[in-house]
Symmetry: C2
Subunit: 320 residues, 2 copies
């Protein structure tokens, strides 16, 4: 059966300039500027459950996933559009108003303007399409496809928190004043890495970049495939999400969440070793972790744990 | 209960530059060019039924509705994105390939490039979000809000065909080699007025423009509200869709389809009387009909039939 990735590969052949297949499309805006564009479809009961969250969280997350794509291009977000389809019984409540409150809360933080959208009825599920655009200097958008062998691999923040949160939600926990677990917020109200992504772009610090939406193992495999490189990752260098107010998971569980849990919306990027010092100076106010390096062994991901080597398979989220 | 229109009005207050509420948002592209942007959400069992059409028609129509919005701004379409959510059982068929065949068929006709998109799973219904962008000279996009009293009101093509087609589909008729009714095609595979819209924009022929997606009575009311004008429409000047190979409907039925049936995707535009000659010269290769005029009687639509005057109410399509 075709995967969503093989299908996108097929579509690509229609696009003369290969704009398809990165976190964002890159198109010329004017003589000095590129526009980067992304669209993300979010579907009830596939991407979220209504009972998990207040509408404000959903509005926030709808924009956050698109801003994360823009951050992964090293770009500055500028405008957005939003299409929302909802059942009539939800339309009659204050759901959309609260949803937009969440959306505008995040938009204002980063100066993103809502320029358009569409409102439609659906038979029974909520559907959202989030569209956003950013800007970079011409030719300076950071792609997935430009890593070189022997680059250093970095990630921002910590990994696995959103997957821990997802598991808690699936077990029936809900976020409220009595249950203020940060893992729940990591899943429900993720923070896009807009500032650090923009800084990496402005200062030209990375050879390639992708956001961690499907999970480290899958997103790293996308970057390796597009760049025709391999990767070597060290288990003990991965910045695990530390559960803040509950029992710690076992190491293996933490590893599974970090490698295969999606929706952390951190950034994964590759750096020329000569730029390591510059990177650390420029990003000293942000948490970044050096977790491995790229190799010439195209598309093979090696995983080093306790001095043994295994092959890392992409086991993150996919729709099909 | 709030309508989708009152809700859009509410959103508008968040947008400093009032980009929301027209067929497209208008944003600055570069010193000489504006970008116009539109997004349209299309939902199975609300906007179409799967058994009505082959996937190629749906792909064509998904792009056509967005190109129609761009035509209504007097702009030239340039690129598009497409988000599609489909149930797993349809993913396993050749549905998406055929859908994209239809999409690319129309895209190639007008030189529109697919630059990005998203593929997602849905529980059971197909959902499509069509995003498209066009260009106009800076400040030259034709809005809904700039008609003046005593402008002439024109429409392109003929009206009501898509509604006739919808009725045939709902009665169980299907388009195939044995049943090649043009009304079915008007509904299933509409033609956006890309060339004439672009020409009206380039030659600066209209004071205001909107596409006929909800139905003449509703779309005219949107234009009147935004422009703070009224309108007077003559029943005998409306270019009814003529059923090509079945019994003609009664005059009243034709009128109902033309006024309140949506999805004709023709253009409705207003013209300064001084430009009437210029308009007719420039558009002599296209069917256009002068159906009435705007008035100073803000938001009141008068309808003249057999020398009696009545008030025309917007009775076209709305989601809520």
């Amino acid at each position: 059966m075709k995967t969503e990735f093989s299908f996108i590969e097929q579509l690509r052949r229609h696009s003369a300039t290969s704009k398809i297949g990165d976190d964002c499309a890159v198109i010329l805006k004017d003589a000095k500027t590129d526009l980067v564009l992304t669209t993300d479809l979010i579907v009830e009961d596939v991407d979220f459950k209504r009972e998990w969250m207040v509408p404000e969280f959903l509005g926030h997350k709808a924009l956050a996933v698109s801003l994360s794509d823009i951050a992964a291009m090293g770009a500055k977000p500028i405008w957005a559009m939003l299409s929302i389809g909802i059942p009539e019984k939800i339309w009659k409540t204050d759901f959309v108003e609260k949803f937009y409150d969440g959306w505008f809360g995040l938009a204002k933080k980063f100066g993103v303007e809502l320029v358009g959208g569409d409102v439609s009825r659906t038979p029974d599920k909520i559907v959202i399409d989030s569209i956003a655009a950013g800007e970079t200097k011409k030719g300076k958008a950071i792609l997935r496809s430009t890593a070189e062998p022997n680059d250093l691999i970095f990630v921002t923040g910590s990994l696995g928190g959103a997957a821990v949160g997802l598991e808690l939600l699936e077990k029936g926990e809900r976020f409220d004043k009595q249950n203020y677990k940060t893992a729940l917020l990591r899943q429900l109200q993720p923070n896009p890495q807009t500032e650090v992504g923009r800084l990496i772009g402005l200062k030209n610090l990375a050879t390639a970049m992708i956001d961690l939406s499907d999970g480290l193992s899958s997103d790293l495999s996308h970057l390796c495939r597009e760049s025709r490189v391999g990767a070597r990752i060290y288990a003990d260098k991965i910045p695990f999400y530390q559960k803040s107010n509950s029992d710690p998971e076992s190491f293996n569980e933490q590893l599974r969440f970090a490698l295969n849990g999606g929706e952390d919306f951190e950034l994964l990027f590759t750096v020329n070793p000569k730029k390591k010092k510059r990177l650390e100076n420029n990003l000293k106010n942000y948490q970044i972790s050096h977790i491995g390096e790229t190799t010439a062994n195209a598309e093979i991901m090696e995983f080093i744990a306790s001095e043994s080597i295994s092959v890392l398979e992409p086991r993150g989220f996919r729709h099909f």
